[in-house]
C-alpha cells in the first residue's frame, strides 16, 4: 500500500467522479477486459486501469477527467490543492503520464464485475449523453460534448474518425439522461458505482483488493528506442486478423530502416505461414516511420491478439520497440467528436526468447524505473 490508510471514519471520498454515460468508459475498459482482475490507480490526473497477462504483457487504460463531467480526487492525507488542480484540465500528455504515480491511490478490483456493472447502464447501445448531435445534454460538465457522439457507434474496426457521426435515429436518444457516479472512499472501502437513471438508482459496490506487490509497469527504455511507427490502427488490425487465421504461436515483428519491406509482421501456423508487408512511404497507412536500427522481435501471438479489440476501436497506433525488444503499442481512441482530446490505451509486450517458444526471460524484472518522457510521444501522436 502506498497510501496511508484512511481512518475508518472517513471524512469524505478520496475519489469521486460523475459521468453522464458509461458507454465510452465501458468501451475503453472492454479493450482490456481480457483479464478478470485489474489494478486501479487513481491520481489527480487520471484513473488508470491496468491488467497484465503471464507477466509478459500489460495493458493500461487511462480515463482522464475529460471523460467525466466532474472529477474529484482528494488525497486522504495531504495535497488538497491537487483536487483543485484537477478542475483545470491538464494537458493530455500529463493525463496520460503512466509513470507519475507517487501518491496515487492503488487497489485492485474485478474488472469483469466492473464491466458488468457498467453494462447495466449504458452498454446496450443507449445514448444518454445526447450525442445525437442534438446537444440536449444539460449536464454541468465542462467536457460534456467531448465524450458524446461516439457512444452509439457500434464497435468494430471500421470505426474511424469518419464514422464518428452519431446515429440520429438512435432510439434511445430521447431517454432522460442518467448519471453514473464513481466513489471510492479510501483504502479498505469498496469502489462504488452509483447509476441513476430516471429516478432509479442502482448502486454497485465492487470489492477492492490490496494490490500485488509487483504490479509495476513493464520497463520500457526510451533511451534505447529502436523504432517508432505510427500507422492507422485498422491496417494493423487487418494484418493481425489475417495472421490470426493461421492460429500461430508466435508473431514475428520486423522493422528495417532501409531495405524493403520496412515493416512486416509474419507468423507461421500449422498449415501455412504468412507475411504482411507494409511500405513506409504510403502516408495514408503510415504517418510516422522512424527507425534507428533494424529490429526483429518475436512475441507470443496469443498475447498480441488480446490487443485486437483495442486495435478495432482505435484510429491510430504508435508502435515502439526498445533495445531489449519490449514492444509498446499505444492506441489512440477517439471517444468524442473530432477535436476532442483522445484517450489512449497502452499495451506492452515482452519479447520471446530467440529459441524458446515461451516467454519469461530476464527482461522481466519489473522495476517501474521508467521515467517521464512519454509525454513527448503522446504529444506527437495527438497532433
Amino acid at each position: 500500500m502506498t497510501q496511508n490508510p484512511t481512518p475508518s471514519a472517513t471524512p469524505g471520498p478520496i475519489f469521486s467522479a460523475i459521468s453522464s454515460s458509461t458507454r465510452h468508459i465501458y468501451d475503453l475498459l472492454k479493450c482490456i477486459g481480457f483479464m478478470p482482475i485489474a489494478s486501479v490507480s487513481i491520481s489527480a490526473d487520471n484513473i488508470r486501469f491496468s491488467v497484465e497477462d503471464s507477466h509478459s504483457m500489460q495493458a493500461n487504460v487511462c480515463l482522464t477527467p475529460d471523460l467525466f463531467s466532474s472529477y474529484n480526487y482528494t488525497p486522504s492525507t495531504i495535497h488538497p490543492e491537487s483536487a483543485a488542480a484537477a478542475a483545470v484540465p491538464p494537458s493530455s500528455a500529463e493525463q496520460f503520464n503512466l509513470e507519475s504515480e507517487e501518491n496515487n491511490e492503488k487497489f485492485q478490483i474485478s474488472l469483469s464485475a466492473l464491466l458488468e456493472c457498467l453494462q447495466i447502464f449504458g452498454a446496450d447501445g443507449s445514448n444518454n449523453s445526447g450525442g445525437g448531435g442534438g446537444g440536449n445534454n444539460n449536464n454541468n460538465r465542462h467536457g460534456g460534448t467531448s465524450i458524446s457522439g461516439r457512444e452509439n457507434v457500434p464497435f468494430g474496426r471500421q470505426q474511424g474518425p469518419f464514422f464518428g457521426n452519431p446515429n440520429l435515429f438512435e432510439q434511445n436518444s430521447l431517454r432522460l439522461p442518467g448519471t453514473c457516479r464513481f466513489v471510492y472512499q479510501g483504502n479498505g472501502f469498496p469502489l462504488s458505482i452509483i447509476l441513476e437513471d430516471s429516478g432509479v438508482t442502482t448502486t454497485c459496490h465492487l470489492t477492492t483488493f490490496i494490490p500485488q506487490s509487483s504490479t509495476d509497469l513493464i520497463p520500457f527504455n526510451r533511451t534505447t528506442l529502436t523504432h517508432k511507427i505510427i500507422l492507422k490502427s485498422a491496417f494493423l488490425h487487418d494484418a493481425l486478423l489475417e495472421l490470426d487465421h493461421l492460429s500461430p504461436e508466435t508473431l514475428i515483428y520486423s522493422v528495417s530502416p532501409h531495405k524493403r519491406p520496412n515493416f512486416s509482421l509474419s507468423a507461421t501456423g500449422i498449415l501455412s505461414s504468412a507475411t504482411i508487408d507494409f511500405s513506409s512511404n504510403n502516408k495514408i497507412v503510415m504517418e510516422t516511420f522512424l527507425v534507428h536500427e533494424g529490429f526483429v522481435g518475436r512475441y507470443k501471438f496469443g498475447l498480441v491478439r488480446k490487443a485486437m479489440r483495442a486495435m478495432g476501436v482505435a484510429s491510430k497506433v504508435s508502435l515502439r520497440g526498445d533495445g531489449d525488444g519490449v514492444l509498446s503499442m499505444q492506441y489512440l481512441v477517439e471517444v468524442g467528436e473530432k477535436g476532442a482530446p483522445p484517450t489512449f490505451i497502452d499495451f506492452r509486450f515482452l519479447p520471446l526468447n530467440h529459441e524458446d517458444d515461451y516467454e519469461d526471460e530476464e527482461g522481466e524484472g519489473y522495476s517501474g524505473m521508467d521515467g517521464a518522457g512519454e509525454d513527448d510521444d503522446e504529444d506527437e501522436m495527438m497532433e
Binding site: 488490425h237 500449422i270 498449415l271 501455412s272 508487408d277 504510403n282
Partner: protein
C-alpha cells in the same frame, strides 16, 4: 522442378474463393493439379460418394497462367494417372492442400472501389491483384505454394502454404450411364433449395408422366437409444418441365442424392450469373454428374446416387450385395469387401424378417405428413436396433427398441418419400433394406456436425469406397501408398494433416480389404513389407 505462376484479378480471386468454399463443403482437402493450360481443383469427400472437379482455364479465368512441367517427371509421370488421360497428364504438377488453409487466403479479397474518397483512404482490404507461385525446392524442404496479394495502400500479404504430394483421383462416369439428362438455370433451382430443411439428408429427383419433376427431400431414421437424431421432415417440390431448358429423362426414373451435396452445388452455381446446371444420370446406384461452367471456370460434380431398393421383400438385399461386390471386385483386391457386403446383406435380411406384417398397413401411405400410423410402428420397431447394433457395436440400441413412436416417425418419412416420388411403393421390409442400402450409401447424408452419426458413417466407409468405379482400382493402391508414404515421411507435418492422411488412408484401405477393426494393421502390414 515445375514452374507455376498464376496471376488473378480480384474478381477471379473472389470466384476462386467461392469455388473453394464449395469444395470445403465436401471435403477437407483439395487436390491441385496444374496442367499446361489449366488448373484443376478436386475434392473427394471422405465417404467417397462425391467427387468435385473445378477446372480453371489458364487463359480465360486467369489474367496470366504459366505452367512449365517438371522435365524430370515427364518420363515416369505415367505411373499414377488413370489410363484415360495419361498423356495429357504427363508432367502435371499435383499436390494436396488443406482447404481450410486456402480459404482465408482468398476470402473477401474483392472489394469494390469505394466512391467516398475519405473512406477509401481508411479502407482496409481489397486487393489489386493476386499472384500464385509454386516454390518447389524439394532438396531444401522448402516446397510451398506462395500466394502474394498485392493490396491497396502498398501492403503486400504473402501466404506460404504447405502442400503434400498427391495423386489424382478421377471420378469416372461412363457415357452410357448418362441416359437421363436435364438442364436448368441455376437461379431457378437455387430459389427452391431453401425449402429443403437443413436436417434432411436425401433428395430424390423423380420425373413422373405428367410433365413434372419432383424434388423431394427427406430423412431416414437415425435412432440412438431413446433419442431421435434425425427427425422426419419431408419437403416436396414439383417443377414443371417448362422450367427446364432441357429435359430427357426416362419415365419413372427416380434417383436420390444427398441434399447437402446438392444444395452446396446449387449454392455455388447460384453465385455465378445466369449459369445453367446440367445434370446427367442413369439408374439409381449409378453416379450422377452435374456440370456447369462460366468464364473459364468449369465445375463438374459426380455424386453417387442412392441405390433403389428392389421390388420383392426378400430380394432387396441381394441386389445391393451384388452391386457392391461387383464394384468392389473391380478394384482388384476387393475380396474382403465382398465378404463384408454379404454380411451386411445378411444383417439386413435379419432386420427385415420381423417387419413383414406391416406391409399392408404401409401401402396406403401416400400422404405426405401422415403421422398417425401406430400399429405399423410397433411392429416395425424391432428392426432398426437389429440393424444398428451390428454396425455401431457398443452403441447398442436394442434395449430401446420399444420407442416405437420415434421409429415410426422417421421410418414413415423414408417410406413416404419413396412413395411420393415415382418410386414404386415399397413394402415395409424393403424399408429396412433401404436403410441398409442407405447406410451403405452413407456418404451422401454425411452430416458433418452429427458426431453420433459420424461414428456410423465411419464404419460404413468401406462400402462407400466400393461405390466407386472400377478404373480407379489400380490407382487407388498407389494413392494409398502415397498417402502412407507421405505420412511416414513427413513427420514434421502437422498433426491435423497427419490425422487426415491417416484417416483417408484407412478409409481407402478398409474399402478394399478388411473389416474396420483391422484396418490399421492391414495397412501397416502392406507397407511394412
Amino acid at each position: 522442378m515445375s514452374t507455376l505462376q498464376i496471376i488473378l484479378n480480384p474478381l477471379a480471386v473472389d470466384r476462386l474463393h467461392e469455388a473453394l468454399t464449395c469444395l470445403s463443403k465436401f471435403g477437407d482437402s483439395v487436390t491441385l493439379e496444374a496442367r499446361r493450360n489449366k488448373l484443376n481443383l478436386r475434392t473427394l469427400n471422405p465417404t467417397h460418394s462425391a467427387h468435385i472437379l473445378i477446372c480453371l482455364a489458364g487463359d480465360t479465368f486467369c489474367d496470366s497462367y504459366n505452367f512449365v512441367p517438371d522435365p524430370t517427371k515427364l518420363s515416369f509421370g505415367s505411373n499414377g494417372g488413370s489410363q484415360v488421360s495419361q498423356r495429357s497428364e504427363e508432367g502435371a504438377f499435383k499436390c494436396k492442400m488443406n482447404v481450410k488453409a486456402l480459404l482465408p487466403v482468398f476470402r473477401g479479397r474483392y472489394v469494390q472501389e469505394p466512391i467516398n474518397k475519405e473512406r477509401d483512404e481508411n479502407m482496409v482490404g481489397g486487393i489489386d491483384k493476386c499472384e500464385i507461385v509454386l516454390q518447389e525446392k524439394p532438396n531444401k524442404g522448402q516446397c510451398r505454394l506462395v500466394v502474394k496479394l498485392f493490396c491497396r495502400q502498398g501492403i503486400m500479404k504473402t501466404f506460404r502454404l504447405q502442400y503434400e504430394e498427391a495423386d489424382i483421383i478421377h471420378a469416372s462416369f461412363l457415357k452410357e450411364w448418362g441416359v437421363n439428362k436435364w438442364a436448368i438455370r441455376a437461379g431457378e433451382l437455387k430459389k427452391w433449395m431453401e425449402h429443403f430443411g437443413p436436417k434432411t439428408e436425401h433428395l430424390e429427383i423423380a420425373a413422373d408422366e405428367e410433365e413434372r419433376v419432383n424434388f423431394t427431400s427427406y430423412t431416414l431414421k437415425i435412432i440412438d437409444g431413446a433419442h431421435i437424431l434425425k427427425t422426419p421432415l419431408q419437403t416436396s417440390i414439383e417443377l414443371d418441365l417448362i422450367e427446364f431448358n432441357e429435359f430427357q429423362v426416362a419415365t419413372d426414373t427416380s434417383i436420390a442424392v444427398s441434399v447437402k451435396d446438392f444444395k452446396s452445388i446449387v449454392t455455388h452455381a447460384g453465385t455465378l450469373e445466369h449459369v445453367q446446371i446440367q445434370a446427367v444420370y442413369g439408374e439409381p446406384g449409378q453416379p450422377m454428374q452435374i456440370t456447369y461452367d462460366q468464364n473459364g471456370m468449369f465445375c463438374e460434380f459426380t455424386l453417387m446416387t442412392r441405390k433403389k431398393g428392389a421390388a420383392g421383400p426378400a430380394g432387396k438385399a441381394e441386389p445391393v450385395a451384388k452391386i457392391m461386390s461387383h464394384r468392389s471386385a473391380i478394384p482388384g483386391s476387393g475380396s474382403g469387401s465382398v465378404v463384408r457386403t454379404r454380411e451386411q446383406s445378411v444383417v439386413s435380411r435379419k432386420s427385415v424378417t420381423p417387419a413383414g406384417p406391416p406391409t399392408a398397413s404401409i401401402q396406403p401411405m401416400v400422404g405426405l405428413r401422415d403421422t398417425s400410423r401406430p400399429e405399423s410402428v410397433q411392429i416395425e420397431m424391432p428392426p432398426p436396433p437389429l440393424r444398428v447394433t451390428p454396425l455401431v457395436g457398443s452403441m447398442s440400441v436394442v434395449p430401446n427398441s420399444k420407442d416405437s413412436p420415434l421409429i415410426s416417425g422417421t421410418r414413415q418419412s423414408s417410406f413416404t418419400a419413396g412413395l411420393r416420388g415415382s418410386l414404386q411403393p415399397r413394402q415395409s421390409q424393403s424399408l429396412f433394406i433401404m436403410d441398409e442400402d442407405d447406410d451403405v450409401f452413407g456418404p451422401s447424408p454425411a452430416p458433418a456436425g452429427d458426431e453420433q452419426f459420424e461414428a456410423l458413417l465411419d464404419d460404413l466407409d468401406d462400402e462407400d469406397v466400393l461405390g466407386w468405379d472400377a478404373s480407379l482400382g489400380s490407382e487407388r493402391v498407389s494413392f494409398v501408398e502415397l498417402q502412407e508414404r507421405a505420412v511416414n515421411a513427413d513427420k514434421g507435418k502437422t498433426v491435423v494433416t497427419k490425422e487426415k492422411e491417416q484417416r483417408g488412408g484407412r478409409v481407402e484401405e478398409s474399402g478394399s480389404y478388411v473389416e474396420a477393426t483391422q484396418r490399421k494393421n492391414v495397412v501397416k502390414g502392406l507397407f511394412d513389407d
